[in-house]
């Protein structure tokens, strides 16, 4: 961690240490720009994806208020996007939430029909962090560019799993995080295409082209840049490996556990995501039982959330609350091995069976199909 100790310079200072920090910062900016096919000066460092989303949506909307007051997002956006647009609604903006199909995918024709002369911003995530469905981002980009509307995409779920290219996909604002690609926490990026007019949310000494004042988190930036480098080298092979595990897991679960279903898209899904649901059991109890066997997973069940609300993503794919409660999400990653997948298949079927025996909702005779 030299950037927290010996190399402690402030990039804004004129002394030698400061110069070195500036040099490192600009190298990192170049590396991260290359990762998404952007120019280095289009990369703004932030404190993380949440801040990037805030700057993109609030910063763009407030700056372009005179052009219009309408924003379009999809129902399956990350909760931070949903909460930011609620804030914008309170401040006079109008928001359309585009519904998705049963796989969680948007329809670009439907999106086009929601555009009004007042529309200033479209925000559609590259892929769902929850059910793994990948969105037709290039089509959205083409539509937005043609209509002269700014297009923001939260790419956190997709980074490291899909090659990102802001030029190919015609994205104007793009959110990246560091910890989702195994970099340090507390650092993120907002890509701001040249010519985009965005207000800063944090005002001060004018760092990051004035879009994000405050001394840069040099150690965090170096860490994120390193994570990006590793990701770029490993991605192709890694995606292949994870997709193999994912397919094996999904195939086996659906084949071996009766009354189980896949959530999200059957093919257009992230390589690291297997999301399933089981009838008549509840997700938190599944997770507890899996943890006893050393397996970590997540659920869209309300019973494991802070708000006691089921996942909005699952609900917007058309699931009933009780179905969302019975969902289970496996996220595969760098440290997942084939043995882990086999372990899940060893412990999951008996756990589901045991919990179903406890459940008043499960009738054995209904499983004859």
């Amino acid at each position: 961690m030299p950037y927290l100790k010996e190399r402690f310079g402030n990039p804004s200072s004129l002394h030698g240490e400061g110069d070195e920090a500036t040099k490192v910062l600009e190298e990192c900016r170049g590396t991260i720009a290359g990762f998404i096919n952007a120019e280095p000066d289009e990369i703004i460092f932030t404190s993380g994806a949440t801040e990037s989303n805030n700057t993109a949506l609030i910063g763009h909307a407030s700056r372009n208020k005179d052009k219009g007051d309408h924003i379009i997002i999809s129902e399956v956006e990350h909760i931070s996007i949903h909460n930011i647009v609620k804030y914008l609604e309170k401040n006079g903006f109008k928001v359309s939430r585009l519904p998705v199909d049963q796989y969680g995918k948007i329809n670009v024709q439907k999106l086009a029909s929601r555009i009004t002369p007042q529309t200033v911003l479209i925000s559609i995530g590259y892929a769902s962090n929850e059910i793994g469905t990948i969105q037709p981002i290039a089509e959205v980009g083409a539509l937005a560019r043609e209509k002269g509307i700014a297009f923001h995409s939260d790419a956190v779920a997709a980074e490291g799993l899909i090659p990102l290219d802001v030029k190919r996909d015609q994205v104007d604002l793009l959110t990246l995080s560091s910890n989702d690609i195994y970099g340090p926490k507390g650092i993120g990026v907002l890509y701001v295409r040249k010519g985009m007019k965005v207000n800063p949310l944090i005002i001060g000494g004018g760092q990051e082209r004035g879009l994000r004042s405050g001394t840069e988190n040099v150690a965090g930036i170096v860490g994120m840049s390193k994570a990006v480098e590793i990701m770029r080298t490993e991605m192709t092979e890694e995606v292949k490996r994870l997709a193999g595990y994912r397919d094996k897991l999904i195939k086996n679960i659906l084949a071996r556990i009766p009354k189980s279903h896949l959530n999200g898209h059957p093919t257009e899904r992230l390589a690291n995501n297997a999301h399933v649901r089981f009838e008549a059991i509840e997700g938190e109890s599944l997770i507890l039982a899996l943890r006893d066997e050393g397996v970590s997973a997540a659920t869209g069940s309300a019973c494991s959330s802070k708000t006691l609300e089921p996942s909005h993503t699952l609900i917007s794919t058309g699931l009933l609350h009780e179905e969302a409660h019975g969902s289970l999400e496996f996220t595969l990653g760098r440290f997942t091995t084939e043995a882990d997948v086999d372990r899940v298949m060893e412990v999951l079927p008996p756990i589901v069976e045991r919990l179903r025996r406890l459940s008043p909702l499960y009738k054995a005779e209904e499983v004859t199909t």
């Binding site: 519904p99 997770i287 058309g318 009933l320 409660h325 459940s359």
Partner: protein, 260 residues
């Protein structure tokens, strides 16, 4: 849910639940609380002998603490008189489990309520006051749903000639008798998502059709009625009224079929 939020005692009852199952026969009553919509449903069965709980069993759909509280209370009241058992409340169950996470105190600590319900039902039975099951108006003339006309042919259909139209769509079929249920079954050949909404408590069909429906991928929502069809240009969702819980929620669908 943070793993550390559950006490060892809760985890023990979750891992090894006591008295799981159902009871039948003389002097048996049961109580049910909760709703799958909110994520918890408990059924508590008691067998009473000389005003004492001779046996007790439970079935629970729910989270870790829902299962643990059900299991705990069966141990606490077995052998107790009905009056003693009625005094056991939610707090007692939580205390016996060495505490529950604050957020779980209300939503999944329903075991005492289920037990009290079972005792109440037992006493009503012995007094001969068996409440008649409420049959809700499946036969009542179907009233128009808000938005039904507005979205006609834009996701709302009164007749269906070509089922392939619904390929991969999320279809809601309103229960309008046998014909509507048969179409629902047929639709599963074209789409994985067919939801039947019915005001009745069980599948409103003869035994053969009911069995077919149960074994199919048709999802039946009981004791419910659609209140309003919503969308922008086309059908996007339906506001559903859960008659049992008297709650309303939105369900995302692509099409609504109302056989006239």
């Amino acid at each position: 849910m943070k793993s550390t939020q559950y006490s060892e005692k809760v985890l023990d009852h979750f891992r090894n639940p006591r008295n799981v199952g159902t009871l039948e026969g003389e002097n048996v009553a049961w109580g049910e609380v909760g709703n799958p919509v909110c994520g918890d449903l408990m059924k508590m069965y008691i067998k009473v002998d000389n005003e004492k709980i001779a046996d007790i069993k439970f079935q629970t759909f729910g989270c870790g603490s829902a299962i643990a509280t059900s299991s705990m209370i069966t141990e606490m009241v077995k052998g107790k008189t009905l009056d003693e058992a009625l005094k056991v409340n939610r707090q007692d169950v939580a205390d016996a489990l060495e505490g529950l996470p604050p957020i779980k105190m209300h939503c999944s600590n329903l075991a005492a309520d289920a037990l009290h319900e079972a005792i109440k039902n037992y006493r009503n039975q012995t007094k001969g006051k068996v409440p008649l099951p409420v049959v809700r108006g499946a036969k009542a003339p179907a009233k128009e749903i808000i938005g039904e006309k507005e979205f006609l042919k834009k996701g709302v259909y009164y007749t269906v000639d070509d089922l392939s139209l619904f390929k991969d769509k999320r279809v809601m079929m309103l229960d309008r008798g046998k014909k509507s249920l048969e179409i629902a079954l047929e639709l599963t050949k074209h789409t994985g998502r067919v939801i039947v909404v019915t005001p009745s408590k069980t599948i409103p069909a003869d035994a053969e059709l009911a069995t077919k429906l149960r074994q199919s991928d048709v999802k039946v929502i009981y004791e419910s009625e659609p209140l309003e069809i919503r969308g922008s240009e086309e059908v996007e969702k339906v506001l559903v009224h859960d008659l049992n819980e008297d709650e309303e929620y939105e369900l995302f669908v692509d099409a609504v079929i109302i056989v006239k």
